[in-house]
C-alpha cells in the first residue's frame, strides 16, 4: 500500500460555524443563539432535527408533528398524501418515523433499521429556486458545500400501493444518498395540479455523515449541556430495533395479521363506498343520497352543520364525512401488509393481489378527499 494514501483514521468533517453561513439573496438564514456553542462539534441527532425545522419554518413551512399511525415513509402521512391533492397551496415540514418491518436487523446491522426517521418537506407549488433552497438547508446543518462533492442523480419515485409517482433525483453527497428529491406528478391515481416538490432527508444517514460514525447506533442523539455526556442513538433505540425485529420476523401471528388486515380493509372500503354512494356526482336523487348518509354516518339528525337549506346541508354532510378516518384505516392495512411480508406470509402471487387491494383503498380515499376539497372550495368562493 502506497504511503501517499491516507489511512481511514478519524477524520472529522469541518463544520462551518453558524456565523459564517452564506446569506444568499434567496436564502435568509436565521441563526439562533443556541447554536453558538456548537461550533466545534457536529450537530447531535436532535440538533440536526432542530436545524432543519428552523430552516424550513423560516422559509414559510408549517411544522407538523409526526403522524401517529404506522407509516412506511413520510410520504404516507396524510400531510403529504392528502395535502398534495387539489389546488390549495401547502408548505409543510415534519419528521416522520417510518416503519419498514422487513428492513429490521435485530439491531445488528450498523446501516439498516426497522424504523428510521425521515424529515419531510412538501412545497406546493414548488418555488422556482427549490434546489438552491435545498442546498442552503445542507449548509444550515453544517455542510460546507465547497468542501464536498454533490450530485443530483436521476431517481424517480413510484409507489404502486399509493398510486403515486414522481420525477426527481437522489442527492448524492460524497457518494452518500442523503436526500430523495421528487416532483410529485400523481397521487392516489390522481394527476396533480399544481404539482408538489417533496424533499425527504434521511436523518440517521445525515447524522452519521455529519458525526462521521460508521454505525447508526453510535450517532450522538443528545449531549447533556452541563456534563457534556453523550446519549447515543443506540441507547435510545437499540432495544426497540431488537424487539420489533423479533416481533416482525418471529412473533407476529400471521393469522391475526390477516384478520386485522381484513377488518381494517372492510371498514375502510365501507366508508369509501358510503362516501361514493352519497356524494358521487352520478347519484341524482337527493332523497336517496341523504338517506344513505344517515344510514352510515349521521346518526343524529341534529348534527351540527346538518341544518339550513338542502344544498348547504348537503355540503356540510360532505365536509363532515370522515375521509381522514378512512385514510387511517388504509394506512393500517399498508402496515399490516408490510408485517405479513416480513413474516414471509405473502407468496409472490398473492403479493400482487394484496397490493392491488390496498391501492384500491388509497385511490378511493384520495378521490373522496379531492372531492371533499372541491366542495370546500366551491362553498368558500
Amino acid at each position: 500500500m502506497p504511503s501517499s494514501l491516507p489511512g481511514s483514521g478519524n477524520w472529522r468533517l469541518t463544520v462551518k460555524s453558524p456565523e459564517t453561513l452564506p446569506t444568499e439573496s434567496n436564502v435568509s438564514s436565521t441563526i439562533t443563539s443556541s447554536t453558538v456553542h456548537e461550533r466545534t462539534q457536529p450537530l447531535t441527532f436532535q440538533q440536526l432535527l432542530f436545524r432543519l425545522q428552523t430552516f424550513w419554518a423560516d422559509r414559510g413551512c408549517v411544522l407538523q408533528q409526526p403522524y401517529d399511525v404506522e407509516v412506511g415513509a413520510g410520504t404516507m402521512s396524510p400531510d403529504t398524501f392528502l395535502r398534495v391533492l387539489g389546488p390549495k397551496p401547502v408548505n409543510i415540514a415534519y419528521a416522520q418515523p417510518s416503519r419498514r418491518p422487513a428492513d429490521g436487523r435485530y439491531g445488528e446491522n450498523p446501516n439498516r433499521l426497522y424504523k428510521h426517521t425521515q424529515f419531510q418537506v412538501i412545497l406546493k407549488p414548488p418555488p422556482s429556486d427549490i434546489q438552491e433552497v435545498y442546498l442552503a438547508s445542507l449548509e444550515a446543518v453544517g455542510i460546507d458545500l465547497s468542501e464536498h462533492d454533490i450530485k443530483f442523480e436521476e431517481d424517480n419515485w413510484e409507489s404502486p400501493t399509493l398510486g403515486a409517482w414522481g420525477i426527481g433525483w437522489q442527492v448524492m453527497l460524497d457518494g452518500l444518498e442523503v436526500t430523495q428529491f421528487t416532483y410529485f406528478q400523481q397521487c392516489g391515481g390522481l394527476d396533480l395540479d399544481p404539482i408538489s416538490g417533496e424533499i425527504t432527508y434521511g436523518l440517521e444517514r445525515l447524522a452519521a455523515f455529519l458525526q462521521d460514525v460508521d454505525s447508526i447506533y453510535d450517532i450522538v442523539w443528545a449531549r447533556e449541556p452541563k456534563t457534556g455526556r453523550e446519549i447515543t442513538y443506540g441507547e435510545i433505540r437499540l432495544e426497540e430495533e431488537l424487539q420489533f425485529s423479533v416481533y416482525n420476523f418471529e412473533a407476529a401471528e400471521v393469522e391475526k395479521l390477516w384478520e386485522h388486515l381484513r377488518l381494517y380493509e372492510a371498514e375502510c372500503q365501507a366508508l369509501i363506498t358510503s362516501y361514493n354512494d352519497s356524494f358521487s356526482p352520478k347519484i341524482e336523487k337527493q332523497g336517496e343520497r341523504k338517506e344513505k348518509i344517515h344510514d352510515r354516518v349521521v346518526h343524529d339528525g341534529d348534527a351540527p352543520g346538518a341544518g339550513g337549506n338542502e344544498d348547504e346541508g348537503f355540503g356540510a354532510q360532505q365536509r363532515r364525512f370522515p375521509v381522514l378516518g378512512a385514510y387511517d384505516l388504509c394506512l393500517k392495512c399498508s402496515h399490516l401488509f408490510n408485517l405479513l411480508d416480513a413474516r414471509g406470509a405473502i407468496s409472490v402471487t398473492e403479493r400482487v393481489g394484496v397490493i392491488a387491494r390496498i391501492r384500491a383503498l388509497a385511490v378511493g380515499v384520495a378521490k373522496a378527499y379531492a372531492g371533499q376539497q372541491n366542495q370546500l372550495l366551491a362553498s368558500s368562493s
Binding site: 500500500m1 502506497p2 501517499s4 494514501l5 491516507p6 481511514s8 477524520w11 468533517l13 469541518t14 444568499e24 439573496s25 434567496n26 436487523r105 446491522n109 450498523p110 446501516n111 439498516r112 407549488p125 414548488p126 422556482s128 434546489q131 438552491e132 442546498l135 458545500l145 465547497s146 468542501e147 464536498h148 462533492d149 454533490i150 450530485k151 443530483f152 442523480e153 436521476e154 424517480n156 414522481g166 420525477i167 433525483w169 453527497l173 460524497d174 457518494g175 452518500l176 416532483y183 406528478q185 394527476d191 396533480l192 395540479d193 399544481p194 404539482i195 455523515f209 462521521d212 460508521d214 407468496s347 409472490v348 402471487t349
Partner: protein, 697 residues
C-alpha cells in the same frame, strides 16, 4: 455572418438522456436553419451539454433570408382581360401576387394563354424565424420521461427549464419557452461558481466564458479530462490500472460539469468477497471505477469522479466520505452472503415453489422441472451424436439454476442472478462443472457477450431459454412488433449465438424435438428462429443481406452450416462467372414462376429428355448431370466454396442455353421438357444457397 448560440438551462437532466437530446437539439436547429435558407451548406454546427444545459453553436448564420422572386400563374388571359381591360379576376390576382396591374404578363402554356406575375418575396430575418421556430422544436424534443412543473400544466419537459440563451453574435433572439424568455445570461457551476449569473457578450465567447465559470461544456473534452484524471489518480498505486468501463465513463461524463478524480481505498479483507459482487457494488451502486493490480486482480482501491474541484487538502474529506459509504455497502453484501450460506442451494430448490415464473405457467419450481426435461433430451441427442457431455453435472446444474433467486444477495443485486448461484455452488462444494454451468447460464446477455465456456453451461443456457420461449409461445405470449416484454428475442439470440459459436452438434430441429410439442412449436417457433438466425448472420456476423437471404432460403436448421455457406457465398459472389450464373438462376426462377402462374408447370414434371433436341439444351443437361455429381460430393464434405466455384463453370453452358433456346414454346412436350430441365438444374444447385436472391446489378 453572425454566429448563433442557443442554450437551454435545466435542473439536472438524467445522465442517460443527455447525449441523445444534445444530438437531437443540434439536428433540429440545423434543420430549421437549412429549411429557412439561413445556413450555407457545410456550415459548422457544434453542440454541447452538461447535466444542467444543452447548447448548440452555429458558425455563420445568415442574418436574413435572401429575397426571392416567384413566377405565379393566374387565371386564363381571356378571363383576366376583356377587350384589353383588366377584369376583377386580374385585379384579384395582381393583389395576391403583390404587383401592379401593369406588371401582369401573358404566358403561353400547352393549355393556352394565362396571366402571370413575378412576385417578390421579402426574406425574413433570422431573429424572427428563430424566435418563431425554436419553441416548437424544444417542445418536440424527445425525452424518455417527462414531467409537469408549472401550475395549469402548460408543458411537459424532462426537468424544469431555468433559463434560455439565444444570441446572434451579441443580439438577443427573443425565443420563449416554458415561461422563460431568452436572454444573454447563463449560469456556471453550482458550487464552484455559485448562483451569480454569467453574461455572454458574444455567441462566440460561450465556451470560454463557461470554462471561466467552472463548466466544461464540450462533452468530449470533459470525457478526455476524466480519462486523464483517472490515469493520473491511479498512478499513485504501483502497477495498478483502472478497469476500463466505457458505459461508466459515459455516465460520469454526463454527471459532471467540472470533473475531478479521487482515489480511495477499502480494507483488503473485503477482497474475500467475490470480485463480481465488489465490482457490482462499486460500479452500479456507487459509480466507482474498480482498480486492478498488474496481474488483473482486483486491488483494494476505487476511483470516484467528482463534480467539483476540491480545495487544497479538501479531497481528504470527500475521499473519506466515499470510503465510508463503500464500507457500509460492502458490509451489507457480506451480511447477505453470510445469511445466504445458512440455506444451501439444494434446499432452496423447494423454496422456488413460491416464486412465480409467470402466472399461467406456474412457479420457478415448475419451470425448473420443464427445463430439466429439455436438458435431459438434449443430452440424449448429443450422446447419440457422439458428443461428450457430463450429463450428471448438466442435470444437477439445471435443477439448481434458479435457486439463487431466493438468495438475499440476489434480491439486493438482481443483476448478479446466476453469477451468485454459481459462486454459492462452488462455495458449497457442488463441483466445478455444476458451478460453472450455473454461473454462466444467462450469458450471453447481449450480442457482444461471450458464450458459456463449458458444454454443460452452453446446454443449460440453451435449455433454459428454449423452455421459456416454447412455454411463452404455448400460451400466446410471443413478441409482436416492437413489444417483447419477456425478452424472448434476446433469449433466442442467445441460443443462436451459443449454437453458432460452441462446438455443440445441435440443430434447431433437435431443440424442437426436445421441447413439448404444440401448434406453436410446430409453426411459429421455426419462423421466429429464422428471423433470429437472419439477425445473427446480418447484424452480428455482418453478412450482406442478399447473401443471408440466399443462404437461409436453402435452410437455417444448422446454424454453423449456414455460416459456412454464407462465408463461401460471400467469397465467390464477386467473380464474373458467378455473377452471370446468379443472373441466369434468377432468369430460371422467373420462367418457372411465370409457368406456374399460368398453370403450365407440372408439380412433379416428367423428365422426358427425348423431347430435348437442341444442341444447347442437350449440352446443358449433360454438363449439369456431370457437374451435379461432383457438386454433391463437395457439398456433403462441406467444401462449399469449391462447390460454388464448380457451379460457376456451368456459365458457358447456361449462357448458350439461354442464347439458343426458347423455353416457353407452343409445343407442350418440348416446353415441358425444357421446364423440367431448368427446374432440375435449379433444384440441384440451390442446396447451398438460392442464387436468385443475390443482387447482381
Amino acid at each position: 455572418m453572425p454566429d448563433f448560440l442557443f442554450e437551454i438551462g435545466l435542473e439536472e437532466i438524467p445522465a442517460r438522456m443527455i447525449a441523445p437530446a444534445q444530438m437531437e437539439l443540434a439536428r433540429r436547429v440545423q434543420d430549421v436553419l437549412t429549411r429557412e435558407r439561413l445556413l450555407e451548406a457545410g456550415s459548422e454546427v457544434h453542440s454541447y451539454s452538461t447535466p444542467r444545459r444543452l447548447a448548440v453553436l452555429v458558425k455563420s448564420v445568415a442574418i436574413a433570408q435572401s429575397d426571392t422572386e416567384e413566377l405565379l400563374t393566374g387565371p386564363s388571359w381571356n378571363i383576366a382581360f376583356k377587350n384589353g381591360e383588366p377584369t376583377p379576376a386580374a385585379q384579384a390576382f395582381a393583389k395576391k401576387a403583390g404587383v401592379e396591374l401593369s406588371a401582369l404578363q401573358k404566358i403561353t402554356t400547352p393549355k393556352g394563354e394565362y396571366v402571370s406575375a413575378t412576385a417578390q418575396r421579402k426574406g425574413r430575418s433570422a431573429t424572427e424565424i428563430l424566435a418563431e421556430q425554436l419553441p416548437k422544436e424544444l417542445a418536440a424534443l424527445y425525452w424518455p420521461k417527462n414531467m409537469y412543473w408549472r401550475p395549469g400544466k402548460p408543458e411537459r419537459f424532462v426537468r424544469p427549464v431555468k433559463w434560455l440563451v439565444a444570441l446572434l453574435d451579441h443580439a438577443i433572439v427573443p425565443v420563449e419557452f416554458a415561461g422563460v424568455r431568452a436572454a444573454n445570461i447563463t449560469y456556471g457551476h453550482r458550487i464552484l461558481h455559485g448562483s451569480e449569473s454569467v453574461t455572454i457578450e458574444h455567441a462566440a465567447d460561450y465556451l470560454g466564458q463557461l470554462e471561466a465559470a467552472h463548466v466544461t461544456a464540450d462533452v468530449e473534452l470533459r470525457r478526455h479530462r476524466i480519462r486523464k484524471a483517472l490515469d493520473a489518480a491511479v498512478r499513485s498505486v504501483a502497477g495498478a490500472r483502472w478497469r476500463e468501463d466505457h458505459p461508466l465513463v459515459d455516465t460520469v461524463t454526463h454527471l459532471t460539469e467540472w470533473p475531478a478524480v479521487i482515489l480511495g481505498s477499502f480494507e483488503p479483507e473485503y477482497l474475500t468477497l467475490p470480485e463480481e459482487v465488489l465490482v457490482m457494488v462499486m460500479r452500479d451502486h456507487q459509480k466507482y471505477f474498480a482498480v486492478e493490480d498488474a496481474s488483473h486482480k482486483l486491488a483494494p482501491y476505487f476511483l470516484t469522479v467528482l463534480n467539483t474541484q476540491p480545495e487544497e487538502h479538501g479531497d481528504e474529506i470527500i475521499r473519506h466520505g466515499n470510503e465510508r459509504v463503500l464500507r457500509a455497502r460492502f458490509n451489507d453484501a457480506r451480511f447477505f452472503w453470510d445469511v445466504d450460506q445458512k440455506i444451501p442451494l439444494t434446499a432452496r430448490v423447494e423454496m422456488l415453489k413460491s416464486v412465480t415464473f409467470q402466472k399461467d405457467l406456474g412457479s420457478y419450481h415448475d419451470k425448473t422441472a420443464a427445463t430439466l426435461r429439455i436438458a435431459e433430451k438434449l443430452a440424449g441427442i448429443l450422446s447419440e451424436k457422439g458428443a461428450r457431455i457430463d450429463t450428471g453435472a448438466l442435470l444437477e446444474a439445471t435443477k439448481l439454476a434458479k435457486a439463487d433467486l431466493t438468495a438475499e444477495l440476489v434480491k439486493e443485486f438482481t443483476e448478479l442472478q446466476g453469477i451468485v448461484g454459481g459462486l454459492y455452488a462452488r462455495a458449497q462444494g457442488l463441483g466445478e462443472s455444476v458451478a460453472q454451468a450455473i454461473y454462466w447460464q444467462y450469458s450471453p446477455a447481449g450480442i457482444e457477450d461471450p458464450i458459456p465456456p463449458t458444454a454443460e453451461g452452453q446446454l443449460l443456457g440453451i435449455a433454459d431459454r428454449f423452455q421459456t420461449i416454447s412455454a411463452m409461445f404455448g400460451i400466446g405470449l410471443e413478441p409482436t412488433g416492437s413489444k417483447d416484454p419477456f425478452g424472448l428475442r434476446r433469449a433466442a439470440n442467445g441460443i443462436v449465438k451459443i449454437l453458432a459459436e460452441s462446438g455443440l452438434p445441435l440443430t434447431l430441429w433437435d431443440l424442437t424435438e426436445a421441447a413439448p410439442r404444440g401448434p406453436a412449436t410446430a409453426e411459429k417457433i421455426p419462423a421466429f428462429f429464422r428471423e433470429r438466425v437472419e439477425f445473427y448472420l446480418r447484424d452480428v456476423r455482418g453478412f450482406a443481406y442478399d447473401v443471408v437471404n440466399a443462404v437461409l432460403a436453402a435452410g437455417h436448421n444448422d446454424i454453423r452450416d449456414a455460416i459456412a455457406r454464407a462465408e463461401a457465398l460471400s467469397a465467390v459472389r464477386g467473380a464474373d462467372d458467378f455473377i452471370a450464373i446468379a443472373a441466369a438462376f434468377k432468369r430460371m426462377k422467373n420462367i418457372l414462376r411465370q409457368a406456374q402462374e399460368k398453370n403450365l408447370l407440372q408439380s412433379e414434371p416428367n423428365y422426358d429428355d427425348s423431347s430435348l433436341t437442341d444442341l444447347a439444351e442437350i449440352n446443358l443437361r449433360t454438363r449439369a448431370g456431370q457437374v451435379g455429381k461432383d457438386f454433391h460430393i463437395l457439398q456433403r464434405t462441406h467444401k462449399y466454396r469449391e462447390a460454388l466455384e464448380l457451379i460457376a463453370t456451368l456459365r458457358p453452358d447456361v449462357d448458350q442455353f439461354f442464347d439458343k433456346v426458347m423455353v416457353m414454346v407452343e409445343d407442350e412436350a418440348i416446353r415441358n421438357a425444357r421446364l423440367a430441365l431448368i427446374l432440375r438444374v435449379q433444384r440441384a444447385f440451390s442446396s447451398i444457397a438460392d442464387f436468385s436472391e443475390i443482387v447482381t446489378a
